[in-house]
Symmetry: C2
Subunit: 444 residues, 2 copies
Amino acid sequence: MDARRTIEQKRDGHRLSPDAWEAFVRAYAAGDITDYQMSAFLMACFLRGLDREETAALTNAMLHSGGRLDLSHLARPRIDKHSTGGVGDKTSLILAPLISALGVAVPMMSGRGLGHTGGTLDKLEAIPGFRTRLTLAEAAAQIEAIGCALLGQTEEIAPADRKMYALRDATATVESIPLISASIMSKKLAEGLTGLVLDVKRGSGAFLTDLDAELELARTMVSLGADHGCPVVALLTAMDRPLGRACGNALETEEAILALRGEGPEDLMEVTFALGAEMLLLAGVAREPGDARRMMDHAIASGRAAAQFQRIIEAQGGNPAVVDDPALLPQAAVRDVHAAPRAGVIAGVEPRAIGYGITALGGGRTKVSDVVDPTVGFVITARPGARVERGDPLATIFARDAAGIAAGRACLAQAITIADRAEAPLPLVSHRVSGAGVTPYSAA
Amino acid sequence: MDARRTIEQKRDGHRLSPDAWEAFVRAYAAGDITDYQMSAFLMACFLRGLDREETAALTNAMLHSGGRLDLSHLARPRIDKHSTGGVGDKTSLILAPLISALGVAVPMMSGRGLGHTGGTLDKLEAIPGFRTRLTLAEAAAQIEAIGCALLGQTEEIAPADRKMYALRDATATVESIPLISASIMSKKLAEGLTGLVLDVKRGSGAFLTDLDAELELARTMVSLGADHGCPVVALLTAMDRPLGRACGNALETEEAILALRGEGPEDLMEVTFALGAEMLLLAGVAREPGDARRMMDHAIASGRAAAQFQRIIEAQGGNPAVVDDPALLPQAAVRDVHAAPRAGVIAGVEPRAIGYGITALGGGRTKVSDVVDPTVGFVITARPGARVERGDPLATIFARDAAGIAAGRACLAQAITIADRAEAPLPLVSHRVSGAGVTPYSAA
């Protein structure tokens, strides 16, 4: 194939046929198209756009570049949840055990943190011994045995997407709705799901920061799922402040464990239950949101959810005792309280600043090869809208040393704004997008 | 520097500061920016465009990535001629000796053929022994000694441009007026010129095929030259049919030799003299076009131009006897006449088809690493507008074997159209673009 001809067509704003997408991606995966040709093509895609059919063709081409989890022999419904990424978002760690404890298979393939956003794999790896590098065969066997596996994108799944995503990250072509949608859906469709719930983050800490774009992303992924017989429901949730209190890998894992034991912060639980209810409804295990909520409450209160997390940890080589005793998670060398510099109302807790602050402390990545320190981060008790007096504690900083405490303090001083009055934060869950369209979200 | 940030700015249509251009190109030349980042950036440049100041900054940055011919100690004016590329265009081989025989230093850095267009270096290398790989120091010494050197773009000149051009060629980002202009001018400004004449080709065989784009390219390069104190004059010349009769490396070299001896075809001489007059006027050696023409006629009639070509060939290791006896040039194994299949008027001789036909015979390149056969090509005597009878000779095919003759015949059957009537071809020279603006061209 003539790569230049295909690049030229997209450059000039023409649509490419499904065969052209398939051929271009296949040639790239085979090494017949160079990285520099692909990155020029991706920039043309970014600027010229892809229509719905082209996005579907790209999704298919990336899906077909690798293998899939074959779970078709399982009688159970198979549901995953995916988030577009945020700060403090540990819902995956809660939902995987919680929903799989309720008879739904959860094959969950996650990513690592990059830039200001955290990653589920990094949080899981804060658990001593936890192994996220499962082969597709191992994951399938574990899902069959205990209903859930938590794994990274293997070499086997959508290898073309993995290469293309790395290029996009280095060439400022990430924030394209068709490219994001195709990347996410090519991986999720490889999980052999019967349904998928998407958490599309909104607000200053989100990937996209414009409601129209967020809704378009949700609609695109709902439609790509429908093309493949995989129903998708998306919720738009708030990322104008961190979700929950803990921000940092081990700190978030601890908060997820607390949540599974019924001790999670309110905002975190509200988002988790909203997503979990959609998973149970898609699975056909619950008939209506109220049922779903009661089932989840019961799984937590009865200890079944926490016990399921122990089973998953044990199956993947980790120390399951962390669920009973989170102090077994790696602990920061030093910690200190950050206090309010003035009286007023918390006007904002800026998630990007917090995310980059974690990276500054050694707990995040600026490039894929960075190694993260699981112990560092923040527990932020200040909530937007709350009134504080000068000297009130706003957060605790967890760091490696005194320099880290100072860096953390500088970050918080910038991230947490105190004013005389504050605007209302975004609603925790604002919209629901499904095959039936977009509706304002109303909790059960 | 953060490459992503710069790519993002250009992607979003913002203008980059001169410092940002300098830093980006410097980092690329140093290997701190990858090819795939540069190619994404170049696609963003292609689609978003560069304004005049950005084009100047890119030109500067590429110019500064390498060395220059230092000819400032020469008292003589230093004038080069550059063409945007065509088929049958051997004017450089005529003008370099002709103009340098008239007391003007001609430091001429040329390229190789690629795609359908020929290249001066390939034509020169048809001369047994001719060496085009001169260092800057060798070229400077030769120019001082005999007033002219004909060389390829060395590793020393604008290395960033060389790397970027190779990327653009592979990623469908060649046909951008600011990128073309910056690429040409960064190399030409490195020649230490006091003036530059540009031959911007028009018509179906040209790089750009739209008059507005051709004028914009000319204006852009005129303005870039002015920024650097190097006056530039551009002529727009016809490339809706090949220039002259000979198409193919050794065949064109032979025609250039004939031209230097006063035996060149009329169309070739008209374009050559138009460009040569501009060179002599820029040099201040002639006062007005009529003077320039008389000087050139005399240099040819007196044998000085041909003798100067012998000096250049000898200085660069070639056999100067080819000027007296062009039969010493490599000769094709077989040749055959192509005759008119019907009576009528020559409606067109399509340069692209002829250019690709030479490549099919082994005389051109589809990729940079291809080796060319100098002997093959066409001598086309059919002129647009001429009346022919069935069986009249239209061209001679020069090939390696009978299969080449057949391929050449197939090419000519497609390239030369005979109809009942023909539209007038483009004027050989149609516009002149200088610091004073665009004017219709009128010969002296």
